[in-house]
C-alpha cells in the first residue's frame, strides 16, 4: 500500500530531526563522518521507521528483517534509528565515540546491530550469509545491505554480487547510497564506476534506481524489491553526500571531518536545530 501524504510528511520530519541529532552527536567528540551519515538518512529512516519487520522487544525474533550497514562509518545515523525503534535511549547518542559509549563504527555492544562494521566491503557478504541461512530456514525475513558507492571499489562486493545471483537470493536487497563522493574525492576522480546499473545487471541482479532522499520513491523501490522472485535486487539510490547542510553537500572534505563550532551553528540554523547541546 502506498504511503499517505501525512506519513511521508512524518517521515520527512523524522529525517530532519535525525539529521540534527546525528550532527549534534558528531560535533561533540569532534570526530565522525557527517557526509555519509546525512546521505543515507532517508534510506535508513524509511527502512527502520516504516518498512522493516523489526521490534526491539523481540530483538532476537528469528524472522526479523535484517539490515547490515556495510558502509559502517555512517553509524551515527544507524544509532539514531535504532534508538527511535527503542533499542536504547536516545540520550545515548551523546556517548558517541566516548569511553564506554557508542562506538565510531557499529559493534555488537550496541543493541540492534546485526554485524560489526568498519572495514568496507565485508558487510555485504555477511548480509548474503544471513540471506542464505534465512532461506535454509524458510524464513520470510529480508536482508537489506546498505553500501557506499566508494565501497563498491572493493572486489568482495562483486564477488558477492556474483554469488548472490548464483544462489538466487531474492531475499537480499542491496541499496547503494550513490552520492558520487568517497574519501579522497569524487568517485569519478578516485575510481569511476562507469555504467553502474549495467554492471549490476551483468551480474544477474534486478536493478532499480531512485532518488534516495525521496521517501515515496524509496517505498516504491523497496516494495518492488521485496516481491522479487529468483534474483537479488539492487536499488541505486541517487543521493547527495552531506544532504541537508548546504556547505557539506557534495564535498568530500566533509566525509570524515570534525564539525567545528561555527559550522555546527550554521548547520543547526539550516536544519532548524538547537546549538546548545
Amino acid at each position: 500500500m502506498a504511503l499517505t501524504a501525512e506519513r511521508i510528511a512524518e517521515l520527512n520530519e523524522l529525517c530532519r530531526r535525525f539529521r540534527i541529532d546525528v550532527l549534534t552527536a558528531i560535533h561533540a567528540p569532534k570526530s565522525g563522518h557527517p557526509g555519509g551519515s546525512l546521505s543515507v538518512c532517508e534510506i535508513l529512516t524509511y527502512l527502520y521507521q516504516e518498512h522493516m519487520n523489526l521490534d526491539a522487544n523481540k530483538a532476537d525474533d528469528p524472522d526479523r528483517d535484517r539490515l547490515v550497514l556495510s558502509k559502517g562509518h555512517a553509524a551515527p545515523m544507524l544509532y539514531r534509528n535504532l534508538a527511535e525503534k527503542g533499542f536504547f535511549p536516545v540520550e545515548e547518542m551523546s556517548t558517541l565515540r566516548r569511553m564506554g559509549g557508542l562506538a565510531g563504527h557499529p559493534n555488537m555492544h550496541t543493541p540492534g546491530v546485526e554485524m560489526p562494521g568498519g572495514p568496507l566491503g565485508q558487510g555485504f557478504p555477511a548480509a548474503q550469509g544471513m540471506a542464505m541461512a534465512l532461506k535454509l530456514n524458510k524464513s520470510p525475513a529480508k536482508v537489506y545491505a546498505i553500501l557506499g558507492d566508494g565501497e563498491l571499489d572493493e572486489g568482495v562486493i562483486w564477488e558477492t554480487a556474483m554469488s548472490a545471483a548464483k544462489f538466487k537470493l531474492d531475499n537480499l536487497i542491496a541499496i547503494v547510497d550513490y552520492n558520487k563522493v568517497q574519501l579522497d574525492g569524487t568517485t569519478d576522480e578516485v575510481m569511476p564506476l562507469g555504467d553502474l546499473a549495467g554492471k549490476w545487471e551483468a551480474f544477474g541482479w534486478t536493478v532499480l534506481e531512485c532518488d534516495g532522499h525521496d521517501i515515496e520513491a524509496l517505498d516504491f523501490c523497496v516494495s518492488v524489491a521485496d516481491a522479487a522472485v529468483g534474483a537479488p535486487t539492487v536499488i541505486i539510490a541517487n543521493t547527495i553526500k552531506g544532504k541537508g547542510v548546504s556547505f557539506m553537500e557534495g564535498k568530500n572534505a566533509w566525509h570524515g571531518k570534525a564539525i567545528d563550532d561555527e559550522s555546527f551553528a550554521k548547520a543547526m540554523e539550516e536544519l532548524g536545530g538547537e546549538v546548545n547541546a
Partner: protein, 312 residues
C-alpha cells in the same frame, strides 16, 4: 612543533621521489589521511589512487616491482595488514619482491574510529612473513631514516607509522641501522624495551621512577625484524629484568620477539609485557585509550614495579 609521523613519512617520500624516479606510490582512497597525497601532489604521474581496493593495490604493487619500480603501498595499518596480507605473503614475500608497506594509523592512533580501525596485531602478522623486515619509527628522524632505508635497500619492508605526533628523540645526525636498537636512556635496575609511542612513555616512566631511586634503562627497538639480539642479551645480563612495551597485543609483537631471543639464548630474566592484553579496544580520545589499556607511562611504571618484585 614536531610533525605527525605520517606527515613526516609523506614529506620524505615526496623528497625521495625527486631523486629516485623508480619510486611509485599507491593508496586506497586514504591518501589525505596516510599523507601519501604529498607524494601524489609532487609526482602525480607516479601516484596511483586505486580506490577502496586494498587487495588490488598490494598485488598491483607486486607486479610493478617486477618491472623495477619501488612501490610504496599505503592505507590504514589495519587494512594493509589484513586485506593486503595475501599478496604480502604469497607474492611479495614468497618472491622476495621490492614492495614497501606504509601502515599509516598504527596501534590505537586512529582512536575515535574505534576497535575496527585499531591495529593491534600488525607486528605479529608482518614479522611472521619470511623476507619481511619490520621497522617501527619512534620520531621524525627515525621515520626519515626508515623511509629512506626502504628506498635504498631491496626487499619487502613494513613501516609501522602513527597518525600521531611523537616528540623528537634523535637528531638528524643520529645513525640508525637495520637490526639494531638504541639505548636512549642508561639504567641498571631494569630495561624497558619499547617501540614507537611506548619509547616515549618509557622515557616518562623512567624519569618518574628515577625519583623513587629506580634506575631504568630504555631501549628503542625500532628494528623489530631483524632484531638486535646482542643488545637484548646484554640488557638481560646487565639489568636482570626486562619490561617489553608496545602499542600492540601482548601476543606476537615486540614482547614475543624479545622473548624468543631470551629463551633461545637461555638468558631469560623476569619479564613483563606492557601492551594491549589480548582484548579488542574501543572508541575514545587517544590518551584515555592509552590509559585504559595500560599503554602509557603509568602502564610502564606498573610493569617495572611488577618485574622488580620478581627480580632475583
Amino acid at each position: 612543533m614536531p610533525k605527525a609521523i605520517r606527515e613526516v613519512y609523506g614529506t620524505v617520500l615526496a623528497e625521495l621521489g625527486d631523486i629516485n624516479e623508480d619510486i611509485v606510490v599507491l593508496d586506497a582512497d586514504l591518501s589525505g589521511s596516510t599523507k601519501s597525497a604529498i607524494f601524489g601532489k609532487a609526482h602525480p604521474e607516479r601516484f596511483f589512487n586505486m580506490g577502496i581496493a586494498e587487495q588490488n593495490m598490494v598485488a598491483t604493487a607486486a607486479g610493478m616491482s617486477t618491472v623495477g619500480k619501488i612501490p610504496f603501498v599505503n592505507t590504514f595499518t589495519v587494512f594493509l595488514t589484513s586485506l593486503g596480507l595475501l599478496s604480502a605473503r604469497d607474492q611479495i614475500c614468497y618472491a622476495n619482491l621490492n614492495v614497501k608497506f606504509g601502515g599509516a594509523y598504527c596501534g590505537m592512533s586512529d582512536a575515535l574510529d574505534g576497535a575496527s580501525h585499531h591495529a593491534t596485531e600488525d607486528i605479529a602478522i608482518m614479522r611472521a612473513l619470511p623476507n619481511m623486515k619490520v621497522i617501527v619509527p619512534s620520531d621524525a628522524a627515525s621515520t626519515r631514516w626508515a623511509t629512506k632505508y626502504a628506498v635504498d635497500n631491496y626487499g619487502p619492508m613494513y613501516l609501522r607509522l602513527s597518525r600521531d605526533v611523537y616528540p623528537d628523540l634523535y637528531t638528524e645526525e643520529t645513525r640508525f641501522e637495520l637490526g639494531k636498537g638504541a639505548v636512549v636512556r642508561e639504567g641498571s635496575d631494569v630495561t624497558v624495551i619499547a617501540c614507537g609511542l611506548l619509547v616515549h612513555k618509557a622515557m616518562e616512566a623512567a624519569e618518574a621512577l628515577a625519583g623513587k631511586g629506580v634506575s631504568v634503562r630504555v631501549v628503542d627497538m625500532y628494528s623489530i625484524k631483524p632484531i638486535d639480539r646482542e643488545l637484548i642479551i646484554k640488557c638481560a645480563r646487565e639489568t636482570g629484568a626486562i619490561v617489553c612495551a608496545e602499542e600492540h597485543n601482548i601476543f606476537g609483537g615486540l614482547g614475543s620477539a624479545v622473548s624468543e631471543v631470551l629463551a633461545y639464548e637461555g638468558c631469560g630474566v623476569p619479564t613483563e609485557f606492557v601492551g594491549i592484553q589480548d582484548t579488542f579496544t574501543e572508541s575514545a580520545p587517544y590518551n584515555e585509550l592509552l590509559a585504559k589499556y595500560g599503554v602509557d607511562a603509568d602502564g610502564v611504571i606498573a610493569g617495572v614495579e611488577k618485574v622488580l618484585k620478581r627480580k632475583k
